[in-house]
Amino acid sequence: MSVETHGHVNPHHEHPDVVGSRNRLGLILLLVADIAFALGVIFVYFYLKGQNVNDMWLPKASDTQDATVPVSSMGAWYVTFIAAIGLLFHQYALAGVKLKNQTQLVLGSGLAFLASLVALIYQGILMNNASFTITMGAYASCYYLIAGLNVVHLFLTSFISLGNWNRSRLGLYVSDHWHVRIVSVWWTWMTISSLLGAFALSFT
């Protein structure tokens, strides 16, 4: 390999766009893994539903156990709706940082954080109020799996959104804003993931 060694790049001062582009690709590749996991979860749901092994997808009432009555999927759709609202707030913040409007950035990212928190708490309430336990058949197991995935995603979103809001508040996105754009990629995927879960739960 022939090389010339007169090229020069200062290793400590890469252009923010270069760093941002690299980080965005890294996140997208991590999302490939997360998307595969989420699709695997959806596959589990429809596979077990399709198999209905021993008629235990939704077990009927027995001497020892009540029948498993599926929950309304509306709860899952509400979670998705709140997540989508959070995504819109985040996009509002992103528009703010592009316009160099600090108030809009802080307001949007703060509201996005609150939305993620509301969705997380609401998801927890839904799980707690389900009329069945995880042991009551394959549907019940899958319901808690999908809800659990939502909880993990929303917890991560809350952490990221809190950091995003805090950094916005501290004025760290004045010179470059690739962090905000990358968080936007995560918000989008998290909302889609929640939507996939709600979609699956609509088929009982």
């Binding site: 090389v3 090229g7 890294g26 595969a36 021993n54 235990m56 042991t135 950091g163 760290l172």
Partner: protein, 626 residues
């Protein structure tokens, strides 16, 4: 925040300045906090989780305690090593300063940097190398226990349950060791230099991937004390759900390892796509880089399925869900599908970088350009693409979707075409080359021989009727050892000898490399041809005793295994003695043309004073002015 770099030195009579948190954390604090975390979670779990398991088929309190203790271990360990400092500093808006990043990179820390959450890719590469060798050592000891037990008919000195547990442990430990054996040490140490980068794209994620693996190892080792893994390395459910708490160690090991693999996959792929030197077009990118990227990129979508299979397994054991339990509407086929969607691509995750490493060495030791660079890339791409479409050939005999057996047989047999392309590339490069006969050169021939046997027997097993006869026999065991060990490990050991001078600054002892090579290769072929014979005769795998008619073949195999052990011990001695007393290596002992040989020994912290600009490919051997 005061950083360690800009603090004034303590004046006489004054107390020493307070150490920053990242200076205090190392492997000892990691293990300390990990153990504390495990104990705390264990007691909390025992205190608060209800003992009543009514309404559940397989849920057990002991599984809840063990799994939670292992989660506590992981959180404590990663806290103790400093993995959470970066994310929380980001959250607080207090990004790491340049000086702190240099500290993380191990600047001026000497040998201590190998025991910290160091981000320098070269340190991570060495850490991976040592970790891989330790894991191989454990797996090798287990292999020798297995072979010693199978030394004569009628069962050996191990109890059947113990034998099964050892087989399962050996299997999963060796699978993980072979997955990381090339991409870990060489993908981390060599790859960034080879593409002309100063470091990986995400140095902290790089350290994270390494320390996750180190955190995972005690989980699998703890299985020894928790009843072992008596299910084989595949841990099929619902069998595994009835296993002892040792299965929980398996579950945590796989979950943590899958996280590590995903992180490493994103990091390595981003590094190659975004950080290649100026002028290093895809046509000028060395073939080893393609191999590493194909491997980790394949793992990215595949390993989440393995992760998911174990999450469901953990939920069944600890919460009473019924994903795999047919009494509650679950399905064993579900596990098999999730497992093998990862399981077969994983074979190529292991093989591709090892073969690519030997393709990288072939031009160096034949002084010829790589034969048909484009064909090599097509071969790698073809294998990667097809490997995700073959998983159900492991399930012919399970009764799952018999109508799909034919299509899966076809896709499996098709994969021999791109594999054949890689053979052609290697043979074409060796053909009429002026051979420089080193141990890596001989390894290319060994790979061609071993991989040919492994590949051809793989075609037998892909055939539905023949698989019906051979499934679950020692023939299968011999087949995958010929591919993963005969091809994969051969490539990895050759890589070690080849890149040892750059990684350690010393030459690998030539005599020891040859002795080790011949012991291992002769022993390997004796061991596994013997295993083919008993497999064809009908000896089942994963059984600790056998009928007298298999006695001769097993004696041959056990004898071969001892030769392999002798060869591996020679290699191990070679690594230690060469690293400590070996001859100092020149900058480019093989007169190779890739970029890693243009940097001095030891490689500077940021690899290049000035980033290189590439003006030709890496295989211009035998050409004028090359």
């Amino acid at each position: 925040m005061t950083t360690m770099m800009d603090r004034p030195a303590s004046a006489p009579g004054h107390s020493a300045p307070k150490k920053a948190l990242i200076e205090r954390l190392n492997i000892f604090t990691a293990f300390g906090l990990g153990i504390i975390g495990a104990i705390v979670f264990w007691y909390i779990a025992k205190a608060i989780l209800p003992a009543n398991t009514a309404g559940s088929y397989i849920k057990s309190n002991r599984d809840q305690w063990v799994l939670l203790a292992m989660i506590g271990w992981l959180i404590g360990f990663m806290t103790g090593i400093g993995a959470f400092i970066g994310p929380f500093r980001w959250l607080l808006g207090k990004d790491l300063s340049h000086e702190e990043n240099l500290f993380y990179a191990g600047k001026d820390l000497g040998v201590k940097r190998y025991f910290r959450y160091t981000t320098d890719h070269k340190v991570v590469g060495i850490q991976y190398l040592v970790t891989t060798m330790v894991v191989f050592f454990v797996g090798g000891v287990l292999a020798m226990l297995i072979r010693t037990n199978l030394g004569h008919a009628g069962g050996g000195w191990l109890q059947p349950q113990t034998y099964n547990a050892i087989v399962g442990m050996h299997g999963i430990i060796m699978i993980v060791a072979t997955i990381i054996m090339v991409t870990g040490p060489f993908g981390n140490f060599i790859m960034p230099i080879m593409i002309g980068a100063r470091d990986m794209a995400f140095p902290r994620l790089n350290a994270l991937s390494l320390w996750l693996i180190i955190a995972a190892i005690p989980c699998i080792l703890s299985s020894i004390f928790l009843g072992g893994i008596p299910t084989g390395w595949v841990a099929y459910n619902p069998l595994a759900s009835q296993g002892p708490p040792g299965q929980d160690g398996y579950i945590m090991f796989i979950c943590i390892f899958a996280l590590s693999t995903m992180v490493a996959g994103a990091n390595i792929t981003t590094t190659v796509i975004k950080m290649r030197a100026k002028g290093m077009t895809w046509n000028r990118t060395p073939i080893f880089i393609y191999g590493v990227v194909a491997s980790v990129a394949l793992a990215l979508p595949a390993f989440p399925f393995f992760f998911l299979s174990q999450v469901l397994s953990a939920m069944d054991r600890a919460t009473g869900s019924t994903f795999y339990d047919v009494r509650g509407g679950g399905s064993g086929w579900l596990y098999e599908n999730l497992f093998w969607i990862m399981g077969h691509p994983e074979v190529y995750v292991i093989l591709i970088p090892a073969v690519a490493a030997l393709m990288e060495m072939a031009p160096v030791f034949t002084r010829r350009p790589l034969f048909s660079f484009n064909m090599a890339i097509m071969g790698i791409a073809g294998i990667s693409g097809l490997s995700v479409l073959v998983w159900a050939h492991h399930m012919y005999t399970t009764g799952w979707a018999p109508l799909l057996n034919g299509p899966f047989m076809l896709t499996t047999e098709l994969i021999s075409i791109p594999t054949g392309l890689l053979f052609l590339v290697l043979i074409g490069t060796l053909w009429r080359g002026r051979l420089w006969m080193t141990m890596p050169t001989a390894s290319i021939y060994a790979l061609l021989w071993n991989f040919m046997i492994g590949g051809v027997t793989g075609i037998y097993l892909s055939d539905v009727p023949i698989d019906g006869a051979l499934h679950g026999s020692m023939f299968v065991t011999a087949h995958f050892h010929y591919t993963l060990m005969g091809a994969g490990l051969t490539g990895a050991v050759a890589s070690l000898v080849y890149w040892f001078p750059k990684m350690t600054g010393r030459m690998f002892d030539k005599t020891l490399s040859w002795i080790g090579f011949w012991f291992v290769q002769i022993g390997f072929n004796i061991a596994f041809i013997g295993m083919f014979l008993v497999g064809l005769a009908g000896q089942p795998r994963r059984v600790g005793s056998y009928a007298a008619l298999f006695d001769q073949g097993n004696m041959i195999t056990t004898g071969g295994a001892y030769l392999i052990m002798a060869g591996m011990l020679v290699f191990l001695y070679g690594v230690i003695s060469s690293w400590t007393h070996g001859a100092k290596a020149p900058m480019n002992p093989w007169f190779a043309k890739t970029l890693e040989w243009t940097v001095p020994n030891p490689v500077p912290l940021e690899n290049f004073d000035v980033l290189p600009v590439v003006t030709s490919d890496a295989y211009g051997y035998g050409k004028a002015q090359s």
